[in-house]
Amino acid sequence: MARLQRDAGKSNDHNTMSNKEPQEPKKRSFSQRQRNMASGYMFISPFYLLFAVFGVFPILYSFYLAFFRWDGLGDMEYVGFNNFNIIFNDPLFWKSLYNTIVIGLMGTAPQLIVALLLAFALNSVLIKYKSVFRLAIFLPYVTSIVAVAIVFSVIFSNQESGLVNAFLGMFGVEPITWTRAEWGTKVAIATMIFWRWVGYNTIIYLAGMQAIPSDLYEAAKIDGASLRQQIWHITIPMLKPFIIFTVFTSTIGALQIFAEPHIFQGRAGRPEGMSIVLYLYRDAFGSNFFGTASATAIVLFFIIIVFSTMNLYFANRIGRSKKVGVK
């Protein structure tokens, strides 16, 4: 198909529209190239049409909404930048931003490291029943997020008899009110995120590792490189595109944490576990303030851009240590 299109394009490139020579004797209103283009666009159109309706329009509309006061049913009232003013003056907005970053860091940074180690273990020749392990590690990812949150709220129960509290109790730790304590909530939510996403990243890393030619390792082994050196100087530099991808997606995912705190804390959430998305969700769908919620969404949009760019920059520097290649 692509080849055809390119060929068609080539033949028409020289004399584009003036090409009415008998080369195509039948009556046609479109040239072959245009027809190919049209059919190409037709093939991809279902996605773009749906995306336009359910993606582009809501995105643009929320930019528009951010400058209005609107309860969803009545009339819209233009308020300029007042919605931004309101959210920037709301300590809970800043608290939710702080929570999101803290939970994001706690949930994703260790996750990526563990995923890398798990992938390395799965990739090694020493492990039997590899596909069983792969499946087991990947399973959390396909588990319903609601189920995860419910199971974890049993594990992190506020009661003294809750699983984690009972375990900590053996070491003389006082029972923690997991759904309300400042750090307890964050630990519980971060644990959920860790558990759910570690398998996904492991599989991506594993795919990346399998693409690394084994002769690199063999050569390293012959040269007497230790396991640590192998990981550090072969695996990680070769995995760089994969690491960049996972860091990128994890950053975006972490900044959009929603279901975990929403279900874990119940009702409309509490300040300790309030994430930005939860904050705007509550604003829009709990209180019907769609203007301030849209303004929050836009602020979040820019925050995501900033953080993603920063992380991309740092992830890009991975494996650029001077030692690489200096054997």
């Binding site: 309860d71 596909s131 069983v132 499946l135 609601v146 129960s157 309300r180 009702r267 300040p271 209180s287």
Partner: protein, 430 residues
């Protein structure tokens, strides 16, 4: 081969685990998400009806048999999804049903959008007014009383449930008549709470929320006045109710387990709480979680009952068949049908006429000491008084409950109250 089998075993287990967790709700009937159409195929009018929580299929079948020209397609989903779809379709101006149920806590939000609903007074609803409880009728109408958004279907009057065995253990009388006599006021309730805590070590009640609610509902004004000004700071009532609740938390009478949670269900089975302050459907919840336990009893709420919720039936303006919709709606909420609903599904009628019906007053319930429970709730329903709530009611409520949880965790109630007001103001003035 072996590995493959192991794999599929794991997969199946995982699927079961995922599947099991989807039915977590308390007392929610499993109503399918699909719309079902009831009525003959040759009918001229098709009405769509969106409801939540209650299954009206049998009544609708009856109606469509009597009225073969009407088919009714009914969509029954859970309460939150129901209101989300209704809100979205009204906001978009397309896709709303001909008849929609709206919950008590949501109805004030929809009063902002009178232009999106039929005024039921225009369709003749003023003739019906005398059939319904005054306060329930008022909830369905606008503040100025000119516009009727919805007609009350079911309501949720409250009462005090208690454990006869816990009262006995504490050396207290435990027969309903005696308990009713003994706990007339909140001060009586507090003294009993102290006795029970002292004698048995058990808490009086499960959570601060029902306590706060029960006392709040006896006040003549709540969080907003009818012009939507925030009252919680200026009005004495809410601070007073909050203070009392906070004191009881600090005295150890109130536990902190959320209704419907695992701990809560255990506690209901074990009888860890002396009382529960809840609506009429709590009796079903108790039966569901403690089917063999006959220690629970019901008496009136100290100092007067309140209303937890209920549904009101409305006709969105988009409808093409307002008359037919109105006819069906009024039939469905008429006393006779409400009585049937009560018998079949336990929804509590908003039409006081049925409260004298022998089918209503005679049945006894072995679960609650062998007496008739419905009459007690009928008295409660007649006691309730109308209070304006406002569309941001739940937001204020949530912040107060967060504050009470903080008090439970050790916050100073006097310092917490201004914090609550701060949070409320930032949340509702946008």
């Amino acid at each position: 081969m072996k590995e493959e089998r192991l794999l599929s075993a794991i997969l199946v287990t995982a699927m079961i685990a995922v599947g099991c967790s989807s039915n977590g709700g308390v007392g929610e009937e499993d109503a399918g998400n699909d719309e079902i159409s009831i009525g003959s195929e040759e009918s001229e009018v098709e009405l769509s009806f969106w409801a939540f929580g209650t299954n009206y299929d049998s009544l609708i079948e009856e109606y469509t048999e009597e009225n073969p020209n009407v088919t009714i397609s009914i969509q029954q989903v859970d309460m939150e999804d129901h209101h989300t779809s209704l809100f979205t379709s009204l906001s978009a101006g397309a896709g709303a049903p001909d008849i929609a149920a709206i919950e008590r806590s949501e109805i004030d939000s929809y009063k902002r959008a009178e232009d999106k609903f039929m005024n039921l007074y225009d369709l003749g609803a003023s003739d019906l007014e005398s059939d319904y409880l005054d306060w329930a009728w008022e909830i369905g109408s606008s503040v100025d009383g000119d516009f009727l958004l919805g007609v009350p279907a079911d309501i949720e009057p409250t009462a005090m449930y208690y454990r006869a065995d816990v009262f006995e253990q504490a050396g207290l009388p435990s027969e309903p008549e005696e308990v009713e006599e003994m706990i007339q006021t909140w001060e009586d309730y507090r003294q009993i709470a102290a006795t029970i805590l002292d004698k048995t070590g058990k808490k009086m009640v499960d959570n601060s929320e029902p306590v706060f609610k029960a006392k709040r509902d006896q006040a003549s004004e709540h969080y907003f006045n009818e012009t939507n000004e925030l009252l919680i700071e200026s009005s004495p009532y809410m601070k007073q109710v909050y203070d009392e609740t906070a004191r009881w938390i600090e005295a150890g009478y109130i536990d902190n387990s959320e209704m419907g949670s695992r701990e809560w269900r255990n506690a209901i089975q074990e009888g860890d709480y002396a009382t529960l302050l809840g609506p009429v459907w709590m009796s079903e919840t108790i039966k569901g979680y403690a089917p063999d336990d006959t220690n629970w009893r019901v008496v009136s709420m100290p100092e007067g009952a309140g209303n937890w919720g209920g549904s009101w039936f409305t006709i969105p303006k988009e409808t093409d068949h307002p008359e037919e919709a109105y006819e069906f709606l009024t039939w469905l909420v008429a006393a006779k049908q409400q009585m049937k609903s009560f018998e079949e599904r336990g929804t509590f009628p908003s039409t006081p006429d049925v409260y004298d019906d022998p089918d209503f007053t005679l049945p006894t319930d072995d679960h609650f000491g062998g007496g008739n429970v419905a009459e007690l709730f009928a008295e409660a329903a007649l006691e309730v008084e109308y209070v304006y709530k406002g569309s941001l009611y739940e937001d204020v409520n949530e912040e107060i409950l967060i504050g009470l949880d903080n008090v439970y965790d050790g916050a100073n109630p006097e310092e917490e109250w201004p914090e609550i007001i701060n949070r409320v103001e930032r949340r509702v003035f946008r």
